[in-house]
Every structure is written in structure tokens, then in C-alpha cells.
């Protein structure tokens, strides 16, 4: 199909505009080609309305078998590149088959669209939302145009948010007790806490707190897990002695985090972990990983 399109100049120009384009917040989105573009931001249950204009190249007419706009929610696995799995697909017919001689504008509206998943660009998986306009033509092939947009969903602060408190250690070697003030953090949150040293028999050099993202894709035997360290934050320099208590204060805002995603459409999950790492003088690492739940807190307006 493509070679036919490539052979000719596009017969017409399609543009998609959102009705509240001026006031709607724009966020950056990284395209496959590495470019970052600004796209509008939506959340679930919003009305997505706008206009689509079709403008034939001057003096030519466009014959078509109908024009439609689709709202697609797609998941793309990188091991299966180019193959999109649509979890959401809404269609609006814009025009019955006919001919277009001059610029023609079609309003469209998707009301209270259910968009349960957030836009996500992971290591092995991508979740995107896109508006797709298709001008169907017979032998000449269809003309399509895409408009990406980003979806983010906000959660209220959780009603139960216990701290994480744990005593861990290696017998007769190292015993620590650590505490993170919450188990659920929003994306701009601050992790507070402390590490209390109950027993130190090793020569510790330093201690870091890492934020790790675990992205698992696929299911069953085909599950693929990718872990990234998004933050490495030095908590302590030097060797503490028994009884020392080291404060933790980690601002999350500088890091590019997303909410925790659990089993998105049976395709993938994204989970976050705090990894407490102690390094001794021989560069041996002692660590303890704890899952935390990330959520996106509704911006106060």
C-alpha cells in the first residue's frame, strides 16, 4: 500500500484539532523516532471533541468511500513491533462516500471516553492513545492521519497508607531496621524515613537508596521482566556504629516516574521498588528491596 502512496503526492491534507486546544494542558511525548512533541493531555471519562478538516490539494477532488475517525488505545510490545493490540477502539463516521472538492470540516465527539490506562513508554512495551482519521478510497488506497494524545489518570490519596518498617540483617554481621514513612507515594512525594543500625560488624563504605522500576511484559512462560534503576541516592557516607540512626529524605520530583500499573490488560505491569543498598569496603553489596506503590495525585486546582 505504501509504495502507492509514495508514488503520488498525497491527494489531500488532513488536520485534527481539539476544540479546547488553547486551554488544554500540553505534555511532552516521546515518539518512536526519538523526537519529543507536545501533545494534549486527557484523562479517562473526558469528552474528546474537535474538528477534522480535509483539504484537497488545490484543484483536485478527492473521491472516497467514506471518512471515519477512530479513537484507539493501543499496546505495542517491542518484541512484536508494529503489531498493535487495541484495547480501546471507538469509531465515528464523518462522511458518507462521495467527493470532496474543497476544504471540508467535520466536527467529532467522543463522550466520556473510558481510558482506564495511562500512556506509557517503557522498555519493552508502549501504551498509547491516538486519534486516527481514515479516508477510504478504493484502488487508490486509504489516506490516514494520526494525532497522539496523552492520558493520565489521577487517584485520590489512599485511605490506608501504612509505613514500611522492617528489621533485616545477616546474622552476627549486620542488623538494621529501616522505616519508610509510607507504602504509597505520589509522583511528587518525598520519601522520609530512617535507618537504624542495630549491629554493625562489617565496614560499611556507604549506603544508597535506589528507586527501581520493574516492568514485566507478557504472561506465563513468556513473561519478560526488565528492571531499571531510576534513582540512585546516596543516603550515608562512611561506616556507622551500633545505635546510629540515619535520616532518609528523598524528593521524588526530579525522577521520571509513573504510577504503579498492575496487569494492564493482561499485557504488562509496572512496579516500583525502593532498594536499600549497603556497600562495604570490599564493594560487597547488601540490599533489601521493598515494593512501594506509586500513584498520580490529582493536581489541586
Amino acid at each position: 500500500m505504501n509504495f502507492i502512496i509514495g508514488a503520488f503526492k498525497p491527494a489531500c491534507h488532513i488536520s485534527i484539532t481539539f476544540s479546547d486546544a488553547k486551554s488544554r494542558k500540553q505534555v511532552p511525548l516521546k515518539k518512536e523516532n526519538g523526537q519529543t512533541i507536545m501533545v494534549p493531555l486527557f484523562q479517562s471519562q473526558e469528552n474528546i471533541t474537535g474538528k477534522i478538516s480535509v483539504e484537497p490539494i488545490s484543484g483536485k477532488k478527492v473521491e472516497h468511500n467514506g471518512i471515519k475517525v477512530e479513537l484507539l488505545g493501543q499496546i505495542e510490545m517491542y518484541f512484536d513491533k508494529g503489531n498493535f493490540y487495541d484495547f480501546t477502539s471507538l469509531v465515528r463516521e464523518l462522511d458518507v462516500p462521495g467527493e470532496i472538492y474543497e476544504r471540508k470540516t467535520f466536527p467529532f465527539e467522543f463522550s466520556t471516553v473510558e481510558m482506564p490506562y495511562e500512556t506509557y513508554n517503557g522498555v519493552n512495551v508502549r501504551l498509547r492513545y491516538v486519534l486516527k482519521v481514515t479516508i477510504s478510497r478504493g484502488y487508490a488506497g486509504s489516506i490516514t492521519e494520526y494525532q497522539d494524545f496523552v492520558v493520565r489518570n489521577y487517584s485520590p490519596p489512599p485511605s490506608i497508607n501504612n509505613s514500611i518498617k522492617m528489621e533485616v540483617g545477616i546474622e552476627d554481621c549486620l542488623h538494621i531496621e529501616f522505616e519508610y514513612n509510607k507504602s504509597k507515594y505520589h509522583l511528587k512525594d518525598v520519601i522520609l524515613g530512617k535507618i537504624y543500625f542495630l549491629l554493625v560488624r562489617i565496614k560499611i563504605k556507604n549506603m544508597d537508596l535506589e528507586i527501581r522500576r520493574r516492568e514485566s511484559t507478557g504472561s506465563g512462560p513468556n513473561t519478560h521482566v526488565e528492571t531499571e534503576t531510576l534513582a540512585k541516592f546516596e543516603l550515608m557516607d562512611g561506616a556507622p556504629v551500633r545505635g546510629e540512626s540515619i535520616p532518609i529524605r528523598l524528593f521524588l520530583s526530579p525522577y521520571e516516574l509513573t504510577p504503579t500499573y498492575r496487569n494492564i490488560n493482561n499485557k504488562f505491569s509496572v512496579k516500583y521498588y525502593l532498594n536499600l543498598v549497603l556497600v562495604d569496603e570490599e564493594d560487597r553489596r547488601y540490599f533489601k528491596q521493598q515494593e512501594i506503590t506509586m500513584y498520580r495525585l490529582g493536581e489541586t486546582s
Partner: protein, 791 residues
């Protein structure tokens, strides 16, 4: 080799660190000039990363730190100016915390924190509390110490002190105190840990390095002392207990010593005085090796200076019972520090002693208590062998002497001699000398026999041989000096009351008689003279006082004197004894005690006859005898005759003719006392003179025979002078013609002498003739008397 490499490497690392700082400083300055906050933070964090090194010794690390410090000052200026970076201080406070590495992060946080406080957008206490808590993240001793030192530095002028602009609105001085205390505690922990975490074999090096860092820790105490609002109450209830708690708990010798000393030096004396119990209470809890004697000594020194600064302070000292608290504390410290050498304990007591001497000079009981405590320490141990300890004991014993002009004060201290007993013989003597010198210096009279008793007990090292030390081993010069001192001392024992004075003398005698032959010749004479002085005082009274119960009579004293002088026989020192007998005889004469005087003379003569064999000594003795006898007027004719007869007899029996001659003409005076009612036996005078002339003649002839020349005419001239004397005194037997004869005789002699080539003239004779000439020309009665003599 390895060590030298280590040093070179360190230089290299330092240079690398400095280069790193300079490199980043360049970009930092550019960012600051461009008001680019993001870049400024980036490069300052990189710059501060150079401080993350573990390779430098504290000394070198400090150098690096100072460079970073300078850059941080610039950054602070930038942070202060919101217009330049456009970021509110609160946001900035968060922003710097995004730094991934903890050390740069905290340096930046402290820097922003100080600006934050200055902006007053948050209570100072909250910011301070946050900073001091966050700094816990650096547990590396050196890095942590410097970081916290930086914190202390930037916060110093921003503490919510009384009168400070940061006070109020819930920020109180207690917050300032809390902050500094916490920073202090953490710093000290890090400092102590430096030692514990280092390898054992580098203990010394570590100790040295730690010592270099101590002021970083101590600075906090200094800051505390500078906080206006720290009044006595806060100091007593909060500051001191907390600081002490940390000091005790850290269980580190170096830190404990340094910090105790710091407390003493930086806080006001008044506080120390009021919190003495707390401060001292901590001492026994410190490590047993801590040099507490220095610490406590300094404390006591400060307190005594404080007491000396104003007399009004004394009641405070009494009120808080400073002395007993110090005394107790020292006792406990000595108990706690079982390994403390004895010198340490004594040093502590020396300090306590000088404290009490300065603060409570009137409290002799305190002094005695201190000495008593020392006795307790010393008892059960052999004599001190440790020279340092000995030195301290001497210092201990000298202190009261220096303080009390009245040495007698020291004599009332019952423990004083007990301490001295613990000194070795040599030191004991040194100490005795110190005591004597002190007495001499102050010219304090020791006025009762009891005190004398104590005093001599104290200086017994000089008075008699102590066990194990024989006088033979001693340096003679030292010995002489010592004994001379004792002799001097006797003159300062004095009481106006003769009875007491006699007791004193008896006491002294009791002591010195134990001294053995070598000492007696030094000690007897002053005692004798002291007794004679007493005799002279009683001289007039003897007859006046009726009743037999008078204890101090010359007669009794003379009996004692007899004993005393007799003791010299063991020395033996007959010449000395003879002189003393003669002195006594003279005193007895003045007391009109003929038998006593006679007895003394007898003793003298016996000595002369039996003990004095040396001819020179004999000459001296005989002249002394003659001289003394001449002045005696107590004797009846018979006694006097006996004695003069004896004396003349001895004179004529001297060995050498000239000596004989001289003694004999001296004897002439025994018959002519130029007093109102003195004996004037002209005939016997002439007899003596004639006899001496004969001897002179014989001497001349002997000389002729043995040497071929008759020698000088000195003897004749001397005799001539005697003639002239009696002639002028009116001795009827001595006439002008007799003199004329003698003059002619001498002239003759001289001519024959000059013929043989001897000296032509004798200056003695010439001046004698000149005298005669003079008398002749003077005219008057005397002139007439001389008239007949032709020259």
C-alpha cells in the same frame, strides 16, 4: 620506603583534589556570573565531591576543605539574592537536596540553610534542627567532622540567642543550646570513632591525627560559652550535664581529657564554682588512664585565681564547700584510677593544697587534711624511690612554708612530719633545708619548746643520722652547709620568757645530742651562745627573785652548759670546748658566780693540759686563756693567783721562744687590769716583762747560733711597746730609765745586726720611736713623763 611513598602520594592526591576544585570553581563562577542556578548547583556539587576523598590525612583534608569553603561563601552570596536565581528560598532548600551524593548535598543544604534562617521565612530552630539531623548521614569521621564544623561555622551568627535577631516567636535560647549540644555530641562521636575504626598498628599516628582535629570538637563548647543566654541555670541544668554525659559515655581517653579541659577553660569560673559537684562527679567515671591530675589542677588553679580576684567571692566558696568537694573528688579519682602512679596522686594533692592555701589561707585544718590524705596514700608503701613523686612531695611540703610567713603555722600541722617520714633520707634533708631557709627568710621566731620539738622532729634528717645512711658517704661541703643552717636556725628560737627559753634550749639539746661527733662541733656552739644569751638576760635578776622555785637561774643554765660542752669530748674538739668554757667562765663572772667561773676555768685548763698538744693551738689557747682571765673580776685573791700562776706557767712552757716571749708579756696584763678597782700589781708586771725580755734575748742568741744572724728585733720592740703601755698607765715599776735602757738595747742590737748586713732599720721600731717623740713633744703631764727618755 613505603612511608615516604605514602607522603608523596598524599601530596599528589591533594594536588588532584585542589585541581578538581579549581576546575569546577571556574565553571561555578561562570554560572554565578550568568545567574544560572541549575549550572551553579551542578558545578558546586561537583566541586564539593572532591571532599569525598578518603585518601588525605586530616591536615591535608583541611587544606582542601578551606578551598571548598571559600567557594561556598560565594555560593551563599548568590543564594541570598533571590533576584539573581529567581527561586524562592524554600524551593531552593528542596532543590539542593536533589543532589545524589550525600556529602555535596549536605554542604549545599547547610549553605542554603544559613540563608534560609537569615531570610526568617522559617523559624531558626526548625532549620537548625533539620540541618543537624540531616548531617547524621555522614558517618565518616573526618568528612563528618568537617561537615559539622562547617555547619557550626555558618550557623554561629544565626543562633536564636538572647538579644539576637533570630530570637523570639518560639525560637528561644534553649533551641540554640540544643542545636549546639547536638552538633557537639555528634562531632565527638565521630572524633572518637576515628580511633576505634582505624587499624591498631597505626594507633599512634591516628592519635596524632585526631589531636589535630580536636579543636573542631572543642569549638562547639566555645560556641556554647559564647551564647549570651546560657546563664548559670541553663548551664547547670542543661549544658553541663549533657556535655558531661557525652564525655563520660564516649569512653575515650583523648577526648575525655581534652574536653574536660575545654569545659574548664571556656566556661566562667563562677559557673564552675556553682556546679563543682556535677563537674567533679564526672571525674571518677572517666577512663582510668585519663590525665585527670592535669585537668583538676587546672580547675583548681582557675578557681584559686578566681577567688583571688575579689575577696567578696570567698563566701561563695564556703557556701558551696569547694574545698571538701574537691578533696572528695580527688579521693574518688585516686580510688577509681587504680593504676595512677603515686606521683599523680601527690600532684593532685599539691594542687589541692595550693588551692586551699590561696583560697582559705586561714584554714589550717584544710591543709592538714590534705597532708593527711597524702599520708594515707603513702602509708603502706616503702620510702619513695620515684624521683618525680619525691619532687611532688617536696612541693607539697614547701607550699605551706611559702604561704605562711609564720613557719610556726606549719609546725602545728600534725600530718606534716608524717608526710616527711615518707621521703628518702636525702630528700628529707633537702626538705629540712627548705624549712630552715624559709624560717630564716621570714625571720620568724620559734617561741615555744613544743614548737621547737616539732620543728626538730621535722628536720631530724639534719640533726641525726637516719637509718641506712652514714655520714661518711656525704659530700663534706653539703654536710657543712646543712649543719651551718641548723646552727643558724638555733638563733631564731627565742622566747622572752626565760623559763620557756630554757625549755627551748633543753629541747634543742635533747635533739642535737643525738647528732654524733660530726655534727656536735657545728651545733654545740650556737646552742652554747644561745644559752649564754639567756644567762646575760637573767644576770641582773638572779638576786632579785626570791624563792627557790625559780626554774631558770643562771646556775642551772651553767650546769646545762657544762654538760653541753662536755659532749664535745667525743668529737673530740678540745680547742672549741676550751673557747666555750672560757665564754662560759666570762658569763659566770658577770653573774658573780665565782665557783662556777672557777670550775669553767678548771675545765679549760684541764683541756689545755690534756688535750691540746699542737703547739700552734696551744699558742692560740693560751692567749685566749690570758685574755679571758684578764677580764675576770669575780675571783678572790687565792683563786685568781692559782689561775694566773697556771696561765703564766703554761706561757713559759710554750715550745717556741718567740711564742713563749709573747705569751709571757701578755701574762703581764693579768696583773694590771686597767679598771677602777682592777688589780694593779706593778711589780709582777715588771717581772713578767723582764722575763719576756730574757726569753727574747735567749731567742736572739739561739737564732745567732743556728742561723748566724740574730734576726729582727721585733720581739724587743713588742716588749718595748708593753713597757710604754704600762709606763703611760702609771705603773710605778716602769720608769723612764727602764725604757731608755730598752731603747738603747734595741739600737745596739740593730747596729750589730746592720754590721752583719741585716736590715738597717725596723719600721716597727721606727714608728715606736716616732711615737715616743710625739709624746715628748705633746707636752703636759705625759710630755713631762717622757721627757727623760733620750732617743
Amino acid at each position: 620506603m613505603m612511608i615516604s611513598n605514602g607522603i608523596e602520594d598524599e601530596e599528589k592526591w591533594l594536588a588532584e583534589g585542589i585541581a578538581g576544585i579549581q576546575h569546577n570553581a571556574f565553571y561555578l563562577h561562570r554560572a554565578l556570573d550568568a545567574n544560572n542556578l541549575r549550572e551553579a548547583l551542578k558545578y558546586s556539587a561537583q566541586l564539593l565531591s572532591e571532599l569525598r576523598t578518603s585518601k588525605l590525612s586530616p591536615h591535608k583534608y583541611y587544606e582542601l576543605y578551606m578551598r571548598a569553603f571559600d567557594e561556598l561563601r560565594r555560593l551563599e552570596m548568590f543564594f541570598k539574592d533571590e533576584d539573581r536565581h529567581g527561586c524562592s528560598i524554600i524551593d531552593l532548600y528542596e532543590l539542593v537536596q536533589h543532589a545524589g551524593n550525600v556529602l555535596p548535598r549536605l554542604y549545599l543544604l547547610c549553605t542554603v540553610g544559613s540563608v534560609y534562617i537569615k531570610s526568617k521565612e522559617a523559624p531558626a530552630k526548625d532549620v537548625l534542627k533539620d540541618l543537624v539531623e540531616m548531617c547524621r548521614a555522614v558517618q565518616h569521621p573526618i568528612r563528618g567532622l568537617f561537615l559539622r564544623s562547617y555547619l557550626a561555622q555558618v550557623s554561629r551568627d544565626k543562633l536564636p540567642d538572647i538579644g539576637s535577631e533570630y530570637e523570639g516567636e518560639g525560637d528561644t535560647v534553649m533551641d540554640a543550646v540544643e542545636f549546639v549540644l547536638q552538633n557537639f555530641t555528634e562531632m565527638n562521636k565521630l572524633w572518637v570513632r576515628m580511633q576505634q575504626q582505624g587499624p591498631l598498628r597505626e594507633k599512634e599516628k591516628l592519635e596524632k591525627e585526631r589531636n589535630e582535629l580536636r579543636d573542631l570538637v572543642g569549638k562547639n563548647l566555645h560556641v556554647l560559652s559564647q551564647i549570651e543566654g546560657v546563664d548559670l541555670e541553663i548551664y547547670r541544668d542543661t549544658v553541663l550535664p549533657r556535655v558531661l554525659e557525652q564525655i563520660v559515655n564516649c569512653k575515650d581517653e583523648l577526648a575525655q581529657y581534652y574536653l574536660m579541659d575545654c569545659i574548664i577553660q571556656v566556661f566562667p569560673d563562677e559557673y564552675h564554682l556553682q556546679t563543682l559537684e556535677t563537674l567533679l562527679g564526672a571525674c571518677p567515671q572517666l577512663q582510668p588512664t585519663v590525665d585527670l591530675k592535669t585537668v583538676l589542677s587546672r580547675l583548681m588553679e582557675r578557681l584559686s585565681n578566681y577567688a583571688a580576684s575579689s575577696p567578696e567571692l570567698l563566701p561563695e566558696f564556703l557556701q558551696v564547700e569547694a574545698f571538701s568537694k574537691l578533696s572528695n573528688a580527688i579521693g574518688k579519682v585516686i580510688e577509681a584510677q587504680v593504676d595512677m602512679p603515686i606521683v599523680g596522686a601527690i600532684t593532685l594533692y599539691v594542687s589541692l593544697l595550693s588551692f586551699t592555701l590561696r583560697v582559705h589561707p586561714d584554714r589550717l585544718d584544710y591543709v592538714d587534711q590534705v597532708l593527711g590524705a597524702c599520708v594515707k596514700i603513702l602509708s603502706g608503701k616503702a620510702k619513695l624511690e620515684d624521683s618525680k613523686a619525691t619532687k611532688q612531695v617536696v612541693a607539697l611540703l614547701s607550699a605551706p612554708l611559702d604561704k605562711y610567713d609564720d613557719i610556726v603555722t606549719a609546725l602545728t600541722l600534725s600530718n606534716y612530719p608524717r608526710v616527711m617520714d615518707h621521703l628518702d633520707a636525702g630528700t628529707n634533708k633537702v626538705m629540712a633545708m627548705v624549712i630552715i631557709r624559709s624560717i630564716m627568710k621570714n625571720k620568724t621566731f620559734v617561741s615555744t619548746s613544743d614548737k621547737v620539738e616539732v620543728l626538730f622532729e621535722l628536720i631530724k634528717g639534719l640533726i641525726k643520722d637516719l637509718e641506712g645512711i652514714s655520714t661518711d658517704d656525704l659530700d663534706e661541703e653539703d654536710f657543712n652547709e646543712e649543719q651551718n643552717s641548723v646552727a643558724c636556725l638555733m638563733h631564731i628560737l627565742y622566747n622572752d620568757d626565760p623559763e620557756e627559753m630554757l625549755k627551748i634550749i633543753c629541747t634543742v639539746w635533747k635533739h642535737i645530742m643525738t647528732g654524733g661527733p660530726k655534727r656536735l662541733s657545728f651545733t654545740v656552739p650556737p646552742l652554747v651562745f644561745s644559752a649564754l644569751k639567756l644567762v646575760r638576760r637573767l644576770q641582773g635578776q638572779d638576786g632579785d627573785v626570791a624563792g627557790e622555785e625559780v626554774p631558770a637561774t643562771p646556775r642551772k643554765i651553767f650546769q646545762l652548759l657544762n654538760q653541753i660542752i662536755e659532749s664535745l669530748s667525743v668529737v673530740p674538739s678540745p680547742e672549741l670546748a676550751l673557747r666555750l668554757y672560757l665564754q662560759c667562765a666570762e658569763a659566770a663572772n658577770d653573774c658573780d658566780l665565782e665557783p662556777v667561773a672557777y670550775d669553767f676555768f678548771t675545765q679549760a685548763f684541764v683541756l689545755y693540759e690534756e688535750e691540746i698538744a699542737d703547739s700552734k693551738a696551744q699558742v692560740t689557747a693560751i692567749h685566749l686563756i690570758i685574755g679571758t682571765l684578764q677580764r675576770m673580776n669575780v675571783f678572790g685573791v687565792e683563786n685568781r693567783d692559782t689561775l694566773t700562776h697556771k696561765a703564766t706557767g703554761y706561757s713559759a712552757k710554750l715550745l717556741k721562744k718567740p711564742d713563749q716571749c709573747r705569751a709571757v708579756y701578755a701574762c703581764s696584763h693579768l696583773f694590771w687590769v686597767d679598771d677602777q678597782d682592777g688589780i694593779k700589781d706593778g711589780e709582777r708586771v715588771l717581772l713578767c716583762l723582764k722575763r719576756s725580755l730574757r726569753i727574747a734575748n735567749a731567742a736572739q742568741q739561739m737564732a745567732n747560733v743556728t742561723r748566724g744572724s740574730s734576726g729582727p728585733v721585733t720581739l724587743f720592740v713588742e716588749i718595748l711597746n708593753k713597757y710604754l703601755y704600762y709606763f703611760e698607765k702609771g705603773n710605778p715599776q716602769i720608769t723612764a730609765s727602764v725604757i731608755q735602757g730598752l731603747v738603747d738595747l734595741i739600737k745596739n742590737e740593730m747596729q750589730s745586726e746592720s754590721a752583719t748586713g741585716g736590715p738597717a732599720s725596723d719600721p716597727f721600731f721606727t714608728s715606736t720611736l716616732r711615737y715616743i717623740q710625739f709624746q715628748k713633744q705633746k707636752g703636759g703631764a705625759m710630755g713631762e713623763k717622757y721627757e727623760p727618755i733620750k732617743l
